[in-house]
Symmetry: C2
């Protein structure tokens, strides 16, 4: 058997964090573990398994440390967790994560409203997290995710120069990569190309993931636009978990299944096994009965004659 | 008041034909007229108002001639109708349409299954329609829409060389433009760019519209890909009418509202008034109560601070 070529893009599955935090009910830990196993079986190689925030704020994610412990047993998986601050980072590192992601608002108004910190204060927090990492766990990777990078429901437009400035700030603070998040579903493909190009001009290969939402139906078009300008890591959520895309104000994460289908159909290797990815919807549905699970490709089925670019075992 | 700049792209609304023919119920003629008026009020400048096929086949569209008569009273509108053959073309020309569109299957198997004609026979039919047009209505435009250009549910892959061959054949037969239709929702952005480039290399500026479906969620990404390689006419259906995108086998037309939002957000002028376009959903809903009407942008609303590129009166 000839060796499988390496993937062209990395699909970073955020459903267990971004998805489950948006669902009112709490999925049982055992069900989450079954879901993680199915996602791993589909050859997803980076999963954001949870968030180290106080359980009082997000009871749905209170079992994140236990999920990290389980995920660490899955071979070849980069185990990632969201941390909002130094305290969360300490807990995540102690739990053994491979990678931290820190949300940093590009919108001044959103930063104050969301974490009651200015952006400068958040950069200082990032610096503290980097210092902690350097001190106790130098192999742990740190990503800053610049939220509201394409627009903000509070202040409207977010000046592109401020996004670029913030990306340079977090890189100077020591993060390994800085991604751009369309938190509010306001991005368009021209803006995605322009802003990623500007950010890459400023921070080079520390430019990180595209985290797109499908709020207004442009999720895949925006991922395509990001791919066109060299982005190679894409956040997505199985079943689009993370808000009904048809509900006003919904977050509407890009659906992993549709994103993987788009890339594979284009001949862009994701390394993900589509058939097993579709199968990973079952433990999600079983763990959250009645919760809407989205995706056009799963409903329509794969096209006749569709052959996935990369061979899977 | 400064003059409005001309649109950068033409949005060709196909809902009254492609949409209504997929709905089991028949919309009353008076309701269709109210809907056409609303579409025209939104500054859509090309509408496919119906299809000249036997009423026994598509009773939903039996009133097409009456709709053409009404549409001809709407200033600035290109009134278009689908015709499957010479008989339909004669009826359409007699009704006074400005433009005919003739579906021609790129897939050999689909052509036989759908119209019981080989592709060569269909090209001969196109030639007869062109001769009729030249004879009795030289100002009427003729478009061939190459259906199943990106794949076929019967035969699977449709060789790109055959699509290019067919495009040259219909142009030699005398059509004014030849568009490419993703009838089955199998297109991907890389293929869209490649195939439109090949077709343009063969038939130049007779390359016509991109008619994309959203069956697997790639509709807007495919429209973006087509725009990237110079396509400037896009078919779309208000409310995505033309099949529930979540039902297996559904046609799932690209949603006009989302497509217009994408382009306008990118700064690509459509000439369409988004607010009035959203308002045009009401007569559609009123005329077909209970029928699913899709669209992410209408549900999410326009983003805070969104300003349409082109000024409207």
């Amino acid at each position: 058997m000839s060796p499988t070529p390496p993937p062209d893009v990395l699909i970073s599955e955020v459903g267990p964090r971004d998805g489950l935090q948006s669902v009112a009910r709490t999925m049982a830990t055992a069900d989450k573990i079954r879901w993680l196993d199915a996602l791993h079986a589909a050859s997803l190689r980076e999963i954001e398994v949870g968030s180290f925030v106080p359980a009082s704020l997000l009871p749905q994610l209170a079992d994140t440390a236990a999920l990290v412990r389980h995920a660490l047993t899955l071979p070849g998986l980069t185990v990632m967790a969201l941390v909002p601050n130094l305290r969360g980072a300490k807990a995540a590192i102690e739990a053994g994560v491979h990678k931290l992601t820190i949300p940093v608002s590009a919108s001044a108004a959103h930063s104050l409203a969301n974490v009651r910190k200015t952006r400068e204060d958040m950069v200082a927090e990032v610096r503290s997290i980097v210092a902690l990492r350097n001190d106790i766990a130098p192999n742990v990777k740190i990503e800053a995710g610049l939220s509201t990078a394409f627009g903000c429901t509070i202040q409207g437009e977010v000046p592109e120069d401020e996004v670029v400035w913030l990306a340079t700030q977090v890189v100077e603070a020591g993060v390994d990569e800085s991604g751009l998040s369309d938190t509010t579903g306001m991005a368009n493909p021209a803006q995605v190309r322009r802003l990623f190009n500007k950010v890459r001009a400023a921070i080079g290969d520390k430019t990180g993931a595209a985290h797109m939402h499908n709020t207004r139906g442009l999720g895949l078009a925006n991922c395509l636009a990001a791919y066109d300008v060299g982005v190679r890591t894409f956040d997505a959520s199985l079943g689009g978990l993370g808000g009904c895309p048809y509900a006003p104000g919904a977050s509407g994460n890009v659906v992993t299944e549709d994103l993987v289908f788009m890339f594979e159909a284009m001949g862009v290797r994701t390394g993900v096994d589509i058939a097993k990815l579709l199968a990973a919807r079952e433990p999600l549905k079983a763990g959250l009965p009645g919760e809407p699970v989205y995706g056009m490709t799963p409903e329509a089925g794969l096209p006749k004659g569709f052959a996935q670019g990369a061979a899977h075992d």
